[in-house]
Symmetry: C2
Subunit: 265 residues, 2 copies
C-alpha cells in the first residue's frame, strides 16, 4: 500500500546551491533525495514547501514524498541523518541537513499545496566588529540600528496587500501579488536583531527585500510610516535593497490556519 510521509527538516544552507535539485552541484533537495533513495532502496523524489535560495537556512522546512515502504517511521530519520552526516558505525554525527520529524499523512497530502502559512526569521548582527564566525549565519550591520523604528515599519506590512513592491524581478510570474502578512516582529537581544514575518505565502525574495527596507529604516534613511507608500506604490524601486541570503531562515510551516501566529479567524 502506498504511504505518504511528511518530513520536517533543518539545514545549514552554507555551501549548498539552494533547495532545488540541479545537476552537478550540491543542493539540499538533491542531498536529501539521494540519502532517502539509498536508505529506502528506491528512487525518491520529494516535494519541498519552499525553494530556498543558495545560502538560506531552515529550522523547519517541510517536504513530502510517497511510495510503498516497509520502514518504520521512527527509523527513517536516524538512518537518513547518519547517512548525510557520514556517521561511522554505531556513532551519531551531525551533518548539514537533519530530518527532525517524520509523520505519516493521508494519501492526498502535499507539503507545498497544503501549506496555510509560513514564518521566516531574518538574523542581523549589529556590531561595530563583524563576527567572522557568524559571516554565513547573519547579515552584519556595523552602524547602530534603531529596532523600535524597524518594529514600527514592520507592523505597517501586516494585513492583506498587493506586495508587488517586495517582489524581485527574477521571480516567477504569478497570477497575483496579493498576500496576507499575519504577524511581524523585530526583537533585539544585545547585538542580535531578529525579524520574524508570518504570512500565507511569500513572493520571490520578499523577506529579504522587506529586511533591506527595514534596515534602511533602522539606519534613519526612511521613516517607519513611509512603508505605507512603498506598499501602495507597488514598485520594487521604492523598496529597500535585498538583504543577503545568509541571514534568512525558514522557521516554520503551518498546515492548519489555527496554528498560524497572528491569524484571528
Amino acid at each position: 500500500m502506498e504511504r505518504n510521509f511528511l518530513l520536517t527538516i533543518e539545514y545549514d544552507g552554507t555551501g549548498f546551491f539552494g533547495w532545488q535539485r540541479q545537476p552537478g552541484v550540491p543542493t539540499i533537495q538533491g542531498t536529501l533525495e539521494d540519502a532517502l533513495s539509498a536508505v529506502l532502496g528506491k528512487k525518491i523524489q520529494v516535494n519541498g514547501t519552499s525553494r530556498t535560495d543558495a545560502g538560506v537556512h531552515a529550522y523547519g522546512q517541510r517536504a513530502s514524498f510517497s511510495g510503498e515502504f516497509g520502514i518504520p517511521t521512527d527509523k527513517l530519520a536516524l538512518a537518513v541523518n547518519n547517512r548525510i552526516a557520514g556517521a561511522m558505525k554505531g556513532k551519531m554525527a551531525t551533518g548539514p541537513i537533519r530530518i527532525k520529524e517524520v509523520r505519516e499523512m493521508p494519501a492526498d497530502f502535499h507539503a507545498r499545496f497544503n501549506a496555510k502559512g509560513k514564518t521566516y526569521l531574518y538574523k542581523i548582527h549589529n556590531s561595530k566588529e563583524p563576527d567572522l564566525f557568524l559571516r554565513n549565519y547573519c547579515y552584519a550591520i556595523r552602524e547602530p540600528l534603531d529596532e523600535e523604528a524597524m518594529r514600527l515599519a514592520a507592523s505597517r506590512i501586516e494585513g492583506t496587500h498587493d506586495f508587488q513592491c517586495f517582489q524581485a524581478s527574477g521571480g516567477t510570474e504569478r497570477e497575483t501579488t496579493v498576500r496576507t502578512i499575519y504577524k511581524t516582529d523585530v526583537l533585539r537581544r544585545g547585538e542580535d536583531i531578529s525579524i520574524r514575518v508570518t504570512g500565507d505565502g511569500f513572493l520571490y525574495n520578499m523577506v529579504r527585500i522587506i529586511t533591506g527596507t527595514l534596515v534602511e529604516t533602522g539606519l534613519g534613511k526612511r521613516t517607519p510610516m513611509s512603508m505605507d507608500s512603498v506598499i501602495r506604490g507597488r514598485d520594487r524601486q521604492n523598496a529597500g535593497h535585498t538583504a543577503p541570503p545568509q541571514g534568512l531562515y525558514l522557521m516554520e510551516v503551518y498546515y492548519e490556519l489555527q496554528e498560524v501566529p497572528g491569524y484571528d479567524g
Copy 2:
C-alpha cells in the same frame, strides 16, 4: 630597510586543511601568504606561532614576516582581509580569515620562538539535541556533564609536569615533554561549556586529549583526583579520548611573561 611585522589573526578553520601550507589544498597559511604576496607585490612567507590542525579555529593566532615594504601598517590588514573575503570594490566583507592587528616589531622578533605562553579555548555544547549550526564550532555532548568535577580535574593539571600522557603518538619527537600549565578554567553558561588552558607550550593534541579526559570526568567515568595518576603514569593510554578538532580555538599568544594569566613571577 627590512621591516618585521607581527600579525594577529582570527580564522574559521572549517574547510581548511589546517594552518600549514600544503600543495593543492586550502590552508590558512597558504591563503594568508597568497593574499599578502598579492598585496605587497612580492612572495611572502610567514612564521605562525601554532600549527593548528584541520578544523581548528583561532581568535588570536600570530604570525610574523619580514621584508622591505612601503605600505603603511594600518592599510595592510584591510587590503589583505578584503582580498581574502573577495570583497567587491568599495565594499567591506568578511572572509574566513581576518587580520585583526598589524604591529611593526624589532628585526630579531619571531612569532613562534619569542612566544612565552598561549591560551587555548575548547567549546562544548552540552545539549540533548545537538545544534546543527554549531556542528563545526564545538564538541556536542548529549549526556549531562558535571562541570564542577571537570573544573576540579582541570585544576590538577596546573603546574610544571611531564605531560607525556597528553601527547598524541603522531606528534613530533621533542626533547622534553615537560610543560608548565599556568591556569585552567571550566565555565558553564547554559548549555555551553568552555575550557580554557594557559601554558608555556603544548604537546601535539594536548588540549584535545585534556578535553577528552575532562569530558570523561564530567560524565562520571573518572574521578577528578584520578587526573594526578594519569599525569604521573606518563602513558597516553591512561588519559581520555582525543576530543574533535572543531571545538578548539587558539585564543591568545603572549610575548611577555607578565601578560600570561596565572603566571606569578
